[in-house]
């Protein structure tokens, strides 16, 4: 596959520059460029997925500097899957935004492409410091997107979001520095080799560095007790941006999975599965807190934001088990929760834009246009998020419950996942009945200006829900693929060999 590995990073980068330099005055051209680039990205990443499925991990050395001295990109099944997911989500978001949202501020499409570049880079990179750089790229693009269209509430939430993330970046550098001081490397594959052979006297420092890094990834993944930024940010971000942010929390989850299975996995000796004892309780509490928030929410966007926190808890429970079955189940849930979170934010925007001054408050109001159609969409999205049959949320949660059998924490995991699913159903049921049923009995009708049937937003929203249906219908083949992904994650020798060559495995004692 060779040079194609770098395309998911270069294509959005070039396109963003092109959009901001050449076509910034013409919104139509911006849309055409942005959508075309995203479609091309979907095609490229799909072929990467197909390639990764049939081959061993492959490395791309930037500027041809050999690892571990240069920065490498690594394509394996996990990273291929994540960039494909990003491009699919990106396509939905850019279609949704292209009807009206991109005109509420400047440079939406350029920032959007930079955001895709950052996310793809974070998924593909094989270097911890480079991961920091791509985190910064995706964050600075997300700051711009978050503040798109401005407004006092959004500025306030954006300010808090930026301060939290800048603090997180400082911690990231501290963690990276500590790891480098002990191992002398930042290449993830080389790190895996060095961690296994670290001197006993340095182990404490390395452990501290690795846990600081875990803290940073958990800020990104919105894990309790460092989740406070998420509800305000997601509830106040522009709808397509909130939908795009569904992948941002997954970047944190991906980083946890990548670093703590590759460098601190089975081969790490004393430090094997370093993250597990911290991650599991935090994930369980996150799930409870998220779903309690769903029941308590007073605004629709806040409700969805809390359900995203809850789904991150579920996902990290699966990751924290660190078994091949649980990782496969967790990745299925990751795909599902990305689409369902994004779909719900898009549906909420369609509802809010039709409710006039009532906005997204969960109070009865007169009916609005297409209330019946949107009720159906909301119903489907809510079923998916709550994890009720027949949609993919049910299959995902079932797989996670199944993978948790035999774990020490099984009683806790089963009890909490099942009870919080009920809370989620209650929360969404209440919101749906207030928005659609009870409002039907209020006299009058809200009329707002604007397109009656905005084509692109409805296509994008239905596309997200279609993704959920496809996940459900093709659950068998997708699960088979994910078992392949999990197997490759646990067989770290393939990854290390791809980056460092045959010789490194001898050092690892494999």
């Amino acid at each position: 596959m060779g040079d194609w590995i770098v395309v998911p990073i270069v294509l959005p980068a070039v396109m963003a520059a092109l959009i901001v330099l050449a076509v910034r005055h013409d919104i139509l051209l911006q849309r055409v460029f942005s959508i075309t680039a995203t479609v091309a990205l979907v095609a490229v990443t799909l072929s990467l997925v197909v390639f990764a499925n049939g081959n061993d991990p492959e490395m791309y050395a930037l500027s041809n500097w050999p690892a571990p001295f240069g920065i490498v990109l690594v394509l394996d099944r996990l990273s291929a899957m994540m960039v494909f997911l990003t491009s699919l989500l990106g396509l939905g978001v850019v279609l949704f935004a292209s009807s009206e949202w991109d005109q509420r501020g400047k440079h939406f499409h350029a920032l959007f492409q930079f955001q895709l570049m950052g996310v793809n880079g974070a998924f593909l990179t094989g270097d911890v410091f480079n991961l920091f750089v791509f985190f910064e790229v995706l964050l600075i693009a997300s700051y711009g997107l978050m503040l798109h269209g401005a407004g006092a509430e959004r500025l306030k939430a954006g300010m808090q979001y930026i301060v939290i993330n800048l603090t997180g970046s400082s911690l990231f550098l501290i963690g990276v520095g500590m790891i480098y001081s002990v191992t002398g490397t930042l290449n993830m594959a080389d790190l895996a080799v060095q961690v296994a052979n670290v001197a006993p006297g340095d182990a404490a420092l390395l452990r501290a560095g690795a846990l600081v890094l875990l803290l940073v990834f958990c800020v990104k993944a919105a894990l309790v007790p460092i989740h406070f930024w998420l509800p305000g940010t997601y509830a106040n971000a522009p709808a397509p941006v909130a939908a795009l942010f569904a992948i941002m929390t997954k970047v944190g989850a991906y980083s946890v999975l990548r670093v703590y299975s590759l460098a601190f996995g089975d081969a790490a000796g004393d430090m094997a599965w370093l993250a597990q004892p911290y991650l599991m309780p935090a994930a369980l509490i996150t799930l409870v807190l998220g779903m309690v928030g769903v029941v308590a929410a007073k605004r629709l966007n806040g409700l969805i934001a809390f359900s995203v926190i809850g789904s991150m808890g579920t996902l990290l429970i699966a990751i924290a088990l660190f078994t091949p079955e649980s990782i496969a189940a967790g990745l299925y849930y990751l795909l599902h929760s990305t689409f369902s979170g994004a779909a719900l934010f898009l549906i909420a925007d369609l509802v809010v834009s039709r409710r006039g001054q009532f906005g997204d408050s969960l109070h009865t109001a007169p009916t609005f246009h297409q209330s019946g159609f949107l009720a159906v969409l909301f119903f489907v999205g809510a079923i998916a998020m709550a994890g009720m049959p027949p949609l993919s949320g049910f299959i995902g949660k079932l797989q996670i419950l199944d993978a948790a059998r035999g774990s020490d924490a099984m009683v806790w995991i089963w009890a909490i996942i099942l009870v919080t699913s009920l809370l989620c159903i209650i929360g969404f049921g209440r919101a749906g009945s207030v928005l659609f049923w009870k409002s039907a009995s209020v006299e009058g009708e809200i009329t707002v200006e604007g397109a009656k049937w905005p084509v692109l937003p409805i296509i994008a929203t239905c596309g997200m829900l279609g993704g959920l249906v496809a996940l459900t219908v093709f659950a068998g083949p997708i699960t088979d693929y994910l078992h392949g992904v999990a197997a490759q994650i646990f067989d770290t020798s393939g990854y290390i060999q791809a980056v460092l060559g045959e010789g490194a495995l001898a050092l690892l004692g494999q």
Binding site: F129, V133, E136, I140, Y143, L147, A150, G151, A152, E153, L155, K156, A157, G158, M159, Q160, I162, V163, L166, T167, S169, S170, L173, I174, V176, G177, M178, Y180, S181, L186, P231, G232, A235, N236, G293, A296, A297, K298, R299, G302, L303, A305, F306
Partner: protein
């Protein structure tokens, strides 16, 4: 020298953390800047402290200073500079739009208008 570097990192981090927890945007921005200085010095020290040594390896060179942390610090400085510029502009914008410079949008002791924002 070790004592000097370590205590300066500690002092910068302490001041940075304290300022970061303040309620107004100006101290928070200064706190973030101090924290990023602390991080830069910390990263620099991670390649071990040496004086008057070349950062380039050649044949016959046995004593050298690690060039990689210097490259990392350079990247970190550029990024934190950009981020500081962004947050300064954003603070001014937030002040102009919200009407006060508190990070949660309201002065201490005043209840928020909409109850809760969720």
């Amino acid at each position: 020298m070790e004592f000097l570097v370590a205590s300066s990192i500690g002092l910068l981090t302490t001041c940075g953390t304290y300022l970061l927890l303040r309620g107004r945007t100006f101290p928070v921005v200064i706190g973030l800047a101090l924290l990023s200085y602390a991080v830069n010095v910390f990263l620099f020290a991670m390649g071990r402290l040496t004086i008057n040594m070349p950062p380039i390896l050649r044949d016959g060179v046995t004593e050298y200073t690690d060039p990689l942390p210097q490259a990392l610090v350079l990247t970190a400085i550029v990024i934190s500079f950009g981020m500081t510029a962004l947050i300064v502009v954003l603070s001014i914008r937030a002040y102009l739009e919200i009407g006060n410079d508190h990070v949660d949008g309201r002065p201490v002791g005043e209840p928020s208008e909409a109850g809760d924002k969720n």
